[in-house]
Structure formats: structure tokens, C-alpha cells
């Protein structure tokens, strides 16, 4: 009986593990021709019957993007996508506008069922409102009525442009301007849909809001755009989950998420990301290049990002907080798991501008196979941010000895009264820990899942209950048995 050999076998199994969500849905799609130019931008805008100002904004973004260069400061290499080879708009063909779930294409509903989110069930049982994005268009929004009573707006961003143009116009691009970065500019030019949330003053959103994204069509990029505005003293918790079918080619996912929290408002944004990671040789998989940023506009505002990243060939994102309001709080809780040839370069930026602002960063990176997992984080304290505080904790766990973990903390302090603490650790999953579990009757697979879940406890605790369970399962699946 050779434990090491057995562990290697288990690694092999994991490596050959198939992506559970790799099916495609056969429904009629309406697509834009391949490639990107001003006409495509107009085409998308026109398809969505957008107001003129929106088209103008898109065109400005597009023209700006043309002048930009793709970044290359990251800690990995990837073949640059051919932007003329991507389809920028794909939508299920629908004759008429949908009024209820019953009118949705049954094939589509089946897809969601396979994903484990039956809208019907959601509607009846869970009390979670779902805005499902299938490729580029928002299909069904449940619970709208209940939310309406409270004055909460939760709809697709295209709908919001028509129904609530003032809000969209005021806030879109206010946190992530199209000039921000290459992928944000691209998104601004071609974004196809996404979710819009507005919580009025003093309202505590009565349910968790949730969006599921799924990339289905071949050669399509997904460029959704999410905008969440929490007015004074309001509260909302938003959940985002994603999956994608298996494809040999890489697909680009370049989303933008903007959060705005006014005085005393709180936004919790949770992501469980399970995009297709590619095969074990690193073919295919999603490039998850996303810009997520929140702004605490008013005093005592609070924004918390929680992410569990298990999928994608490359995950490249830094959900950030701009702490403008005095006493405002930013939090970032992250679990990033990489296996096989996956790459993650993720972290956060905490920009302290207001006085007595506080931020907390808890990052847990787990690497297995030949993967690379990088934490990159910036803590910046501006001149006037008196008594700002940051606490960063950055833990890496290695499974096997062919993977890598890297930590790049950047700290810029321009105010002497700031307190910034950084703690980092790297550990290997211990043979001792596994043997201890084995001795209590817990097999190696289960033991790893237990140890990894324990390692991520602080982050998983931040997730709403039903999501936490899902995330735990995902962790177990993506790492099954990978010990060296």
C-alpha cells in the first residue's frame, strides 16, 4: 500500500475530471456578424432600441478603445484574442416580448434546470429573485412585482435604459469609466445586457437578488454590465453565479460591474464563478477579464465583495472599493482555486479617500496541478484620509509541488495616521493532516475537501447560506483528491 502512489492516482483522476456543466443548448440564436467596428456597435445599440445618448457613449468608448493597448503587466501569458473573430451579439430568437416564465423557450428553461437553477422552482420555493442572462440577453426576471412594492428596481440594464434613463445615465460609467482600462472600454462599446438594481432610500431589499450568467453560443464573447445603486441607508445583497459549456477555443468574458453605495448604505456582492476552465492541457476555457468596482459615496457606506473563483482558464480581476465617504468600509473576501493549467491573477484595490475609512482583505488561494495562483492587491491611502485602517490577510495553500502561488501586495500611504497591516502565509496541505483524518475513517478525497473548506472558512462564512453550500461542493469537485 503506497500512499504517495495512491495520491498521484487521485491527482490523475482530478486532472481528468470532466466539466459538469459542459453541455450546449440547441435553440435558435440571432447573431451579429463576426468582428468589431462602429457598425457593430450601432447594430447592438439598434437591436436594443437604445436611446441616442447610449449609442453616443458606446461609440466614444469604442473610439477610445481603438487607441488603447492591451495590458501586459499581469503575471501570466495568454494568446491575445483576435477581436475581429468574436461575435459581439447573440440572443435567443424570440418573436415577442416575454411576459411570464411560461412563455420562455422550454429548451432554455431546461438549460437552467441542468444548471441547477430552475426558475420555476426559484419562483415558487426560494425567495430568491433571479435575473437570468443567457448569452447576451436577460431572459426572465422573477419576483419583479414583490420588489416593486418596496420600490426596488431589479431589471435588465437594457430595460432600465428605457424605464429609468435618468438613473442609468447618471451612474453608468461613474465608477468604471470607459477610459479605465482596455477591457472596460471594450465592454462599454459592446455590452449586450446585464442587470440593473436600484434600492431606494431607507429600504432593506427583502430578498437576495441573483443573476446567473451562461455563455452558450460558439465564438461569442460575453460582455455584461451590472450597475447597482444603493441609495441612502439602504441594503442589498446580490449574488452572481456563472457557468459555460465546453469549447476548444477560448472565449472572452469581459464584464463590468459598478456598485454605488450612498450614505449609510450597504451592498454585499457575492460571486461564485465556475466558468469552463479548459481541459487538462489548457485548451479552451474562459478568459475571465472583469472589472468590478464599488464606490462608497457617502459617510458610513459599506461595500463587501465576496468571491469564490473555481473556474475559467484565466481569471483576471480585482474587485475594488473606493472609500470616499468618511467612516466608510470596504471588504474583500476571496477564495481562488486553480487546478491543472488554470491561472488566477486576482485581488483587490482599496482606495482610502475619506477619513476614518476602513478596509479588510481576506484572500485564500488554493493551487493544484500545474496551475498558478496570484494575489495582487493595492491599498492606497490618500493625503486627507486621516486615521484610515487596512487589514490584509493573504493565505496560500499548495496541493502538490508543480503549482505556484504568488503574492504582490502594493501599498501606497500618503497619510501618516494610517494603519496598514499585512499578513501572509503559504502552506502545503499536510500529509499529517490527511493521515489524521484517515485515522478517523475519513478518506483522502473527503479529507482534502474538509481541510480546504476549513482553510476557506472565513470567506465561505460571508456567503449567504444557499450559496455557501454550493460553493463548498464546487471546491470539493474542483480539487477532488489532489494531493502530492
Amino acid at each position: 500500500m503506497n500512499q504517495e502512489k495512491e495520491n498521484e492516482d487521485i491527482i490523475e483522476q482530478v486532472v481528468s475530471q470532466e466539466y459538469k456543466y459542459g453541455f450546449t443548448t440547441d435553440i435558435e440564436m440571432e447573431m451579429a456578424p463576426k468582428g468589431l467596428n462602429e457598425d457593430i456597435v450601432r447594430f447592438i445599440s439598434n437591436k436594443k432600441n437604445e436611446p441616442e445618448w447610449m449609442l453616443e457613449w458606446r461609440l466614444k468608448a469604442y473610439r477610445h478603445w481603438l487607441k488603447m493597448e492591451e495590458p501586459d503587466w499581469q503575471n501570466f501569458k495568454y494568446p491575445k484574442p483576435n477581436y475581429q473573430d468574436i461575435i459581439y451579439y447573440a440572443a435567443p430568437k424570440e418573436k415577442k416580448k416575454l411576459n411570464s416564465l411560461d412563455e420562455v423557450d422550454p429548451e432554455l428553461l431546461k438549460t437552467f434546470e441542468k444548471l441547477g437553477i430552475s426558475l420555476q422552482e426559484q419562483k415558487r420555493l426560494t425567495g430568491v429573485a433571479v435575473d437570468a442572462v443567457f448569452d447576451s440577453v436577460s431572459i426572465a426576471t422573477t419576483f419583479k412585482e414583490q420588489l416593486k412594492e418596496k420600490g426596488v428596481i431589479f431589471c435588465s440594464i437594457s430595460e432600465a435604459m428605457h424605464e429609468h434613463p435618468d438613473l442609468v445615465k447618471k451612474y453608468i460609467g461613474s465608477v468604471v469609466p470607459y477610459t479605465d482600462n482596455y477591457f472596460a472600454a471594450l465592454n462599454s462599446a459592446v455590452f449586450s445586457d446585464g442587470s440593473f438594481v436600484y434600492i431606494p432610500k431607507g429600504v432593506r431589499c427583502p430578498m437576495e437578488l441573483s443573476t446567473y450568467f451562461r455563455i452558450n453560443a460558439e465564438n461569442t464573447g460575453q460582455f455584461e454590465r451590472t450597475l447597482i445603486v444603493a441609495d441612502d441607508a439602504s441594503y442589498v445583497s446580490y449574488l452572481e453565479g456563472c457557468t459555460a459549456p465546453m469549447r476548444d477555443e477560448n472565449q472572452l468574458h469581459a464584464a463590468v460591474v459598478e456598485l454605488i453605495a450612498m450614505e449609510n448604505a450597504e451592498i454585499k456582492y457575492s460571486t461564485v464563478q465556475n466558468w469552463y476552465p479548459g481541459d487538462k492541457e489548457g485548451n479552451g476555457g474562459i478568459y475571465n477579464f472583469v472589472t468590478k468596482r464599488g464606490s462608497c459615496e457617502g459617510a458610513n457606506a459599506k461595500i463587501s465583495w465576496t468571491q469564490v473563483e473555481t473556474g475559467s482558464a484565466i481569471t483576471w480581476k480585482y474587485p475594488s472599493c473606493i472609500l470616499k465617504g468618511d467612516h466608510s468600509i470596504g471588504e474583500f473576501f476571496s477564495v481562488a482555486v486553480t487546478n491543472n493549467m488554470q491561472v488566477a491573477d486576482t485581488g483587490t484595490k482599496m482606495i482610502h479617500i475619506g477619513k476614518h475609512t476602513r478596509s479588510r482583505i481576506v484572500s485564500k488561494g488554493i493551487s493544484a496541478g500545474k496551475s498558478h495562483n496570484t494575489y495582487r492587491g493595492l491599498v492606497k491611502v490618500a493625503k486627507k484620509a486621516d486615521a484610515a485602517r487596512n487589514y490584509t490577510q493573504c493565505d496560500s495553500m499548495l496541493i502538490g509541488d508543480r503549482c505556484g502561488a504568488h503574492t504582490f501586495p502594493y501599498i501606497e500611504i500618503n497619510n501618516k495616521t494610517a494603519t496598514v497591516e499585512h499578513e501572509a502565509s503559504t502552506s502545503k496541505i499536510g500529509e499529517d493532516q490527511i493521515f489524521y483524518c484517515n485515522q478517523r475513517g475519513i478518506g483522502t478525497e473527503e479529507a482534502i475537501s474538509l481541510i480546504v473548506n476549513g482553510f476557506c472558512r472565513e470567506v465561505l462564512n460571508q456567503l449567504p447560506m444557499e450559496f455557501a453550500v454550493e460553493a463548498q461542493k464546487l471546491l470539493a469537485v474542483s480539487l477532488e483528491g489532489s494531493v502530492g
Binding site: F435, Y436, C437, Q439, G441, G443, R457
Partner: protein
Amino acid sequence: MLEIRNLKAEIEGKKILNGINLTVNSGEVHAIMGPNGAGKSTLSSVLAGRADYAVTEGEIMFEGKNLLEMSPEDRAREGVFLAFQYPVEIPGVSTTNFLKTAINETRKYKGLEPMEATDFLKYMREKMELMEMDKSLTSRSLNEGFSGGEKKRNEVFQMAMLEPKLAIMDETDSGLDIDALRLVSNGVNKLRNKDRSFVVITHYQRLLDYIVPDFVHVLYKGRIVKSGDASLAKELEVKGYDWIKAEVEAAQ
């Protein structure tokens, strides 16, 4: 219950066990004593199935099954329990969660349904009372930040929860204060019955005042060089190991 025949084991080419013979019947308590580095912990590790040690000769039968052919987890599920000399810490995993997993994995192995959460909690409460365990320990991360004594008590608590057939206790008494020693011993005595056997590794007669063994063995240089009843431990307490070492040298 347990039959060890001519067991030889080594690590990194270093011979540590040099032909151990030991028979433990149901309900018996065997104490194993011996100087530091004699191979006591090695014997317990080999029984539990630690892969670092290579068994080069001999066999171990447990309840008629060949223990050496079983994975560590299967040995545990069959009823072999090891209270570790140095219990490891598992951050973020509570003792409760850990034990629930352990019990349900064992039940799965035996073809039983997992225990309902409420039944489990009730069962755990009973055992905590029996072992006079402090509630706060079970909700904390397993062994993390536990004092030396708390870790040992936690091992015995786990033993009570898992109800093994054979419990191997590796220096569970080391690091316990006088009160804790009494609590742990009482706990063990409560778990003693005609179907459960114990192999108690210790350096101190004191423990054996509480847990009175049926047999005492002296392990030296990877062999059992002397066996006797409880009085042997008392003799060792007075005389130390030198006379035994001398006997062994003389015999060679």
C-alpha cells in the same frame, strides 16, 4: 482481536521494529512501556497504517483480517483508533464537523445511512457528559490553539464518539495535569468493556494506577523484551530500564 507476528518495519532504510510479537484479546488492556526512541510510536503508526513506514516482514491480523492490506481509513472504519502522541491542528474545521464527517464516512462504509444532524448532536452531548468535556472545545477549530492537555482530552473524546474495538493510546497521559489525568483515566475506564481492547503507551506508572492493565510489555530497540502483569510497571518505576537493557545485552 489483534495478533502481531514478527513485525519488522523501517523508515528511510533505518530498522526500527525488529520482530514484534503481541497478542491482544477482546477486553484486555495492554500497557507498553520503554525508553525514548524504542519504537513505541512507530508501532502505533504502523498499526494505524502510516505510509512513511515500510513493513518488511511479519503480519498483523485484526479480527481475522489482514490489517496490512487495508488503507488507513478502512482500518479506522473497522474499529482501530489511535489517540495520537501529537494531535494535528486542522484550522477552520470544528471538532463537531470533523466528527460528524468521520462518523458518517464510517457509516457509509458499513452501508448505513448518514446520521441525522439532530441525532448526531444528541449523541455528541451524551458523550460530552460522559467524558466531562467542556462545550467550548467542540465548536472551536480542531486542536487549533488547544493546550497540550486539551488536545489529549480531545483525543479521548473522539475515541468515545467513534467507539472503536481497539484503542491505541500513545502517551495520552503526557502533558496532563493531575485533574485532567484523572478525568482522562475515568473516561477510559468508562469505555472499557469486554469487547473493547486497549493498547496504552506510557512512560508513567501513575497512569496505570488509574487504568489498571492486564499486561505490561517493555519495548526496547524494536522488540518486546519483557512482559508481565501490572506489577512489572511498578518494578520499572523503582528500578528504571537499566537492568532490562543489561539483560538484553547479556542475552546477545
